[in-house]
């Protein structure tokens, strides 16, 4: 027999679940979204209503017990969007709250390690965005790049792009998830591209590009070729550092 909590599958919702569970002293064995099909042997269901007052209190409690790094890990794991992620975070938070001392460095604990490993994967994905984004300048002077991260890592990389490219308009668009962010020199806003002609096979329509864009791509491709030391060719290492799944977005890897 299973006990189940239903919630709205938001991060605040998950923290509200934690609040409710401690309040009613009853802990779920599974978490489901509203409207999910319920399993056959259900003992008892509780529906959590997302409430910022509840989630803030839980987060404040975590801030007291965890390092900044561990708090970051929670965010990263949430952004992984993996089906097991929410219940993993729930178990982790329970361990943090129930233990009199910090458990975040108990690497022999399965949940602590799973959190660490999943957070690492998401953070790697974020790093790949920072490395391999290639902006293309459009006629409207917007530097645009489609991206396709494995996890929902774009929000985690935003801060880097805002700081670095503060004096140019840019947009990053997640073609897998169909949403993105646009920076208008003041702030960032979330966008979706309603126009089907903007993207062709996941890349920007060449008609929209600025006149000199091809020139700089050509210069870059040439540079990239010229600095290769032929005597040291090591394609395995190249692939290791720059996995082939990113190549379709890199002008230097197109012929």
């Amino acid at each position: 027999m299973m006990s189940i909590f239903y919630y709205d599958k938001t991060f605040d919702g998950l923290l509200s679940v934690v609040f409710d569970a401690y309040k009613i002293k009853y802990f779920p064995q599974a978490l489901l979204g509203e409207g999910d099909v319920e399993p056959m042997f259900m003992e008892r269901g509780h529906t959590t209503v997302t409430d910022p007052n509840k989630s803030d209190r839980v987060w404040a409690a975590l801030c007291k017990k965890l390092s900044k790094q561990a708090l970051n890990h929670i965010h990263h794991v949430w952004q992984s969007e993996r089906p097991e992620a929410d219940y993993l975070i729930f178990r982790y938070i329970r361990k943090v709250i129930d233990s009199p001392h910090s458990i975040e460095t108990d690497f022999t604990d399965e949940d602590v390690m799973s959190m660490l490993q999943l957070a690492k994967k998401v953070s790697k994905d974020t790093m790949h965005l920072i490395e391999f984004v290639r902006f293309q300048k459009t006629k409207e002077n917007i530097f645009f790049s489609p991206v396709a991260p494995d996890y929902n890592a774009l929000p985690l990389a935003l801060h880097h792009f805002i700081d670095r490219f503060a004096d140019q308009q840019w947009a990053l668009y997640d073609i897998r998830r169909g949403y993105g962010f646009y920076y208008n020199l003041q702030r960032v806003e979330e966008i979706t591209l309603p126009d089907e002609n903007t993207l062709i096979n996941g890349n920007i329509n060449p008609m929209l590009l600025a006149e000199d864009e091809q020139k700089f791509q050509k210069l870059w491709r040439n540079y990239f070729k010229a600095i290769t030391i032929v005597e040291r060719i090591n394609k395995r290492q190249q692939r290791q550092h720059m996995p082939a799944r990113f190549w379709h977005l890199l002008p230097e890897m197109q012929n």
């Binding site: 490395e131 670095r164 070729k225 010229a226 005597e231 090591n234």
Partner: protein
């Protein structure tokens, strides 16, 4: 497009490619209002070429004209190659356009020596100054210092660049004199010293005025060519170790010699670049920088070369069985760091994790310890007693070297299934 820009870029990138440093780390600087760019502190790679090397900075020469005739260099005066030069404006614009597209972290500017070292430095400074003041570029800049440059120009360079470097190239002075008669170690050590002085002075200034401009905040680096002369690994490591004594020296790079001027009889005939040797030198360098080894421990007069078949940490451990086995539950950090199969990260995790309870083999595995290696060097009450002493150093050597002399230890008694 101006075809000439593409042409120049190709030639001047090809002439710059033998400089291995590409690191963009060492400075954290956030964006300033109205400026473009920041630096991240840990360095970011943006691409990887077919040789597997990272592209972080636009690594380029201002010109490949050169006064000097160094035997090991493609740009030597006696080579019959096409000579070109960028204008400062061309190079600054190229840097900015590449940066805006997120191709690069910044610029690594080097140059052949035209007219005189100071004249060359002035030309290079122009590019770097323009980038900072005219183009408001706030990203990473690494600038090469030309051997023989004056203190005043080195000082100015340090005010605009994040990192400065002077390449030593040939580790022993007598070899340098043979291969590059116009250079000597003095011409390299002097600018190195100016950079060091600049940084020390700057530290003091900033103690008084927090707003004092920073001087080469990412420190300096240098490069040593490996295999172009008769030096051995011991010479090279002792040299690096001495260089690291200066706190301003952040990195020493090793570059396996690639025959570029095969006609020059002063150079050795090599078929393949000595990549394995280069790799072992980097590993030894890491031992000095992150594992608290000193050069004497890694190599001495009896063993002047690194073992190509084994990483230097394992080689050290096998030479010193008396230091093992180590009890991971009680030993201090420095001792744990020396266990083969344990890296800096796992050593730190071991220290943190054992506060929560005894670490068993499963825990070590979870932390990322390579038990296949570590098993001969640790104790813990789960392991039956089969350390390097029982197994003998010869045996451990033969199973853990890169090309094992013995079949997989899986068939031997007392291997714990950690073969791969």
């Amino acid at each position: 497009m101006k075809e000439s820009l593409l042409h120049k870029l190709t030639i001047l990138a090809e002439s710059a490619k033998y400089d291995v440093s590409c690191s963009s780390s060492g400075t954290t600087r956030s964006n300033k209002a109205g400026a473009i760019g920041n630096t991240s502190g840990w360095g970011i790679c943006h691409s990887f070429t077919e040789d597997g090397r990272c592209v972080s900075l636009l690594k380029i020469l201002l010109t490949n004209f050169c006064l000097f005739d160094c035997a090991y260099c493609v740009n030597r005066r006696s080579n019959d190659i096409e000579r070109v030069a960028f204008t400062p404006r061309e190079l600054a614009e190229l840097t900015i356009e590449f940066y805006r597209r997120n191709y690069i972290e910044g610029l690594f500017l080097s140059s052949g020596v035209i007219k005189s070292p100071d004249h060359t430095m002035e030309k290079m400074l122009r590019v770097v100054k323009d980038l900072r003041t005219l183009y408001h570029f706030n990203g990473y800049i690494h600038m090469k210092t030309i051997p023989g440059a004056s203190q005043e120009l080195v000082h100015q360079a340090g005010l605009y660049a994040d990192r400065l470097s002077v390449n030593l190239e040939i580790p022993l002075e007598q070899d340098l004199k043979l291969l590059a008669p116009e250079k000597d170690h003095q011409s390299v050590y002097k600018p190195m010293h100016y950079i060091q002085q600049g940084m020390v002075q700057n530290l003091e200034d900033r103690r008084k005025f927090r707003s004092a401009p920073r001087f080469a905040p990412a420190g300096q680096s240098t490069q040593i060519i490996v295999g172009a002369a008769k030096d051995n690994d011991k010479d090279i490591l002792h040299l690096s170790s001495a260089l690291y004594q200066r706190q301003s020296m952040k990195r020493v790079y090793y570059s396996g010699y690639i025959p570029v001027n095969t006609y020059d009889k002063r150079l050795p005939v090599v078929k393949d670049p000595c990549l394995k040797r280069e790799n072992r030198l980097y590993q030894a360098d890491w031992l000095m920088r992150f594992y608290q080894f000193n050069a004497n421990e890694i190599l001495d007069d009896k063993n002047p070369y690194l073992d190509l078949d084994m990483d230097p940490k394992l080689a050290w451990a096998i030479r010193h069985p008396e230091r093992f086995p180590v009890d991971v539950n009680t030993a201090d950090y420095a001792t744990i760091l020396r266990i083969p199969g344990v890296g800096v990260k796992s050593a730190k995790m071991i220290i943190m994790a054992r506060k929560h309870g005894r670490l068993n083999l499963d825990g070590l595995k979870k932390i990322g310890v390579v038990l296949k290696r570590a098993q001969y060097f640790i104790t813990n009450n789960e392991l039956s007693h089969y350390t390097i002493h029982e197994a003998t150093p010869e045996y451990v050597k033969s199973v853990l070297r890169d090309t094992p002399l013995l079949p997989s230890p899986a068939q031997q008694q007392l291997s714990f299934g950690f073969t791969e």
